[in-house]
Symmetry: C2
Amino acid sequence: MKKSGHPFDMAEVVTSDCVYKGVLMPSSDSTKIVVKLKSGYNVGLLRKHVKKIEVLEHAKTSKAAAAKKLVERKHLPVISILHFGGTIAAEVDYATGAVVARFTPEELVAKFPEIEQIGNVRSRLIRNMFSEDMRFAHYNLLAKEIAKEISAGADGVIVTHGTDTMGYTAAALAFMLEHLPVPVVLVGSQRSSDRGSSDAAMNLICAAHFISKSNFAGVCVCMHEKSSDDFCSILPACKVRKMHTSRRDAFKAVNSIPIAKVDIKGSLEFVQTNYKRKSKEKVVVKGFRENLRIGMLKVHPNMHAQEFLSYKNFDGLVIEGTGLGHAPVNVIDEQTKEHKKILDAIRSLSKNIPVVMTSQTIFGRVQMNVYSTGRMLQEAGVLGNYCDMLPETAFIKLAWLLSNCKKDDVKRLIGENLRGEISKRTQENEYL
Amino acid sequence: MKKSGHPFDMAEVVTSDCVYKGVLMPSSDSTKIVVKLKSGYNVGLLRKHVKKIEVLEHAKTSKAAAAKKLVERKHLPVISILHFGGTIAAEVDYATGAVVARFTPEELVAKFPEIEQIGNVRSRLIRNMFSEDMRFAHYNLLAKEIAKEISAGADGVIVTHGTDTMGYTAAALAFMLEHLPVPVVLVGSQRSSDRGSSDAAMNLICAAHFISKSNFAGVCVCMHEKSSDDFCSILPACKVRKMHTSRRDAFKAVNSIPIAKVDIKGSLEFVQTNYKRKSKEKVVVKGFRENLRIGMLKVHPNMHAQEFLSYKNFDGLVIEGTGLGHAPVNVIDEQTKEHKKILDAIRSLSKNIPVVMTSQTIFGRVQMNVYSTGRMLQEAGVLGNYCDMLPETAFIKLAWLLSNCKKDDVKRLIGENLRGEISKRTQENEYL
């Protein structure tokens, strides 16, 4: 009785209890067979319990394709793909049955052969990590590698990246890469590329088309616009956010609109017109101080001053206030005595470190002049009035300013638009 | 030359520099005249600099109306309005020019005479506070007052409330008020009621219609569905969130849909069908332990273990993880050595207090089985797998469970649906 198949073969695996139909996953443990079911879940079966494996459809051999040498086409742009990890190139962890980032970039390109028709692809593995593990040091590494690719002639760079913190990284790159002459496109995937419903291929191919066909220079994110495969949105680096845990259209522009829309055949439509064009400038990398400690604190009911004071040894703090940028600082009855301590804590923090207000509503603009609460916070030294910055972008910007500017300049620049992170006016179409 | 007008008169105020057109605001400082401009901003003018005030339109005298005695109409339901504060009944702070909560409930009802046609209105002032100042003690107070109104025969209760933390309060009331036999509707306003664009009247009147015309029992929020005055949404208490700092349609259902839609003329359409109906049950209040300390910590890049450890003396912690419910716990290179400390910190916290995972994406469901990161967090004791609870609702639920249940029950119940805070299935129409 046949008891084997090749990785990525579609097969029926028969045990005494059940027939599992799905994709055979590569397994480093020879005593186990892992099947990815149609539902997306993996089942690990002890080989000794498996009675039969019937291959229904043989997998395309991506490893063989990866070994193929790429032919250079002079009329096509040079597209550099830097691999940093994430679901876009993930497979199953045999130990736990969970998904981990594991593919090499060669295999990645081999899996999506359409890209070869769009550009001359260069591809390198920089890191293979979950994006929740990103630290300032990784931003520095990534920015340097991007600059290296551009200096070596890349007409655009695609960074494959985990989706969890892709918004933060987009903002980080936007601040770090000054005088960027080409597009740098962050691409992720919400479903691993061994799933039928994976968004990996379309996101990657659309990003390549965008590099090839547009005159845009700057950092952006390319992800599904809808849950269907109609087209991808090119989203602004400092105003993009992951808004859903699992949907393919998780990434949305916040207090902004997409820069452009692009489909898998390369049809491109710009939605914004006021963007930086490609140029002959030379990119300059301004990195992060890796030992900085920046906190984020979300205001909630029944807060205690200690929640603020625990950041007293940090280098900066971003508050996610309620509404227009509020915190519990009014003493109105016996129950709110703690609020004086909170105001004192904010005042004492602000004397030593920048404390920046944002809003936990995500959409909209901080306005600390409308209510007396906001005035009290401003008097206590809280920065960020009138800004429509995402809390995540404010976090990145604060760290970057502290890494690159004098203390007084940080306080001034946090409220000035440097990379499209602050819009002067709020438009009707920038909301849900 | 005439140099005065009455509060809320529309007038032109002439100084040597400028002519200000707007609404005259009541001023406790007789040396100043405060004008609310069309833009919504207030300008304070020294009376001695004012050359002339020309009244363009006299204000309706709300104080006179408030003195009028209400006539009881036997065929109409009893609607109790409990006033807790917020912009819905706010005016200008003369000291700062900012908006503060100040109206009495009598004036509030007088300002919106339509309500008298919908029900027999009872109205009481409980607190006049900004909602960012709410503490567990205020939830206890509010729940008791609501129960008192219901025992006294109210067919429904409207609570006027600041919008900043209205979502948290809605969830708190949903947990506190067991066997609720009637609707309790939270109503706020994003623009103060002395502004032309105020949403106060419509939100309040729609709430009264909803109480009068529906058979719903439970806690909900009534706010503008769109930026226009078409209709209001009735939103589920545990799945509602303020998503914009200033728009009138700031409140949205998250991982859910509105319960119903209602317009200012009283036309009512239910969107959900599976809701609790009005009954003859007797409401039971189960309050919060007021000295509880519950933290909320949002995962971000470059975290330090100290950010987790600072909650070691707290009673519970809600983590707003990235993506499916992740935190930086993988040690993959020199830079991520701190991540071992973070995992250890989470493990040591979890030994003593409940640590609950939610997602900062807001929409979607925590799934800590998909990636190895999630498995590690579960092994470290993190709760909340498979839940689609809002972080804000998880915060309230955790505090309420700790107030009312044994330790082991807290761990079990955090993942069980008690008040509509967790949906079993995710529906396509529950996203943006």
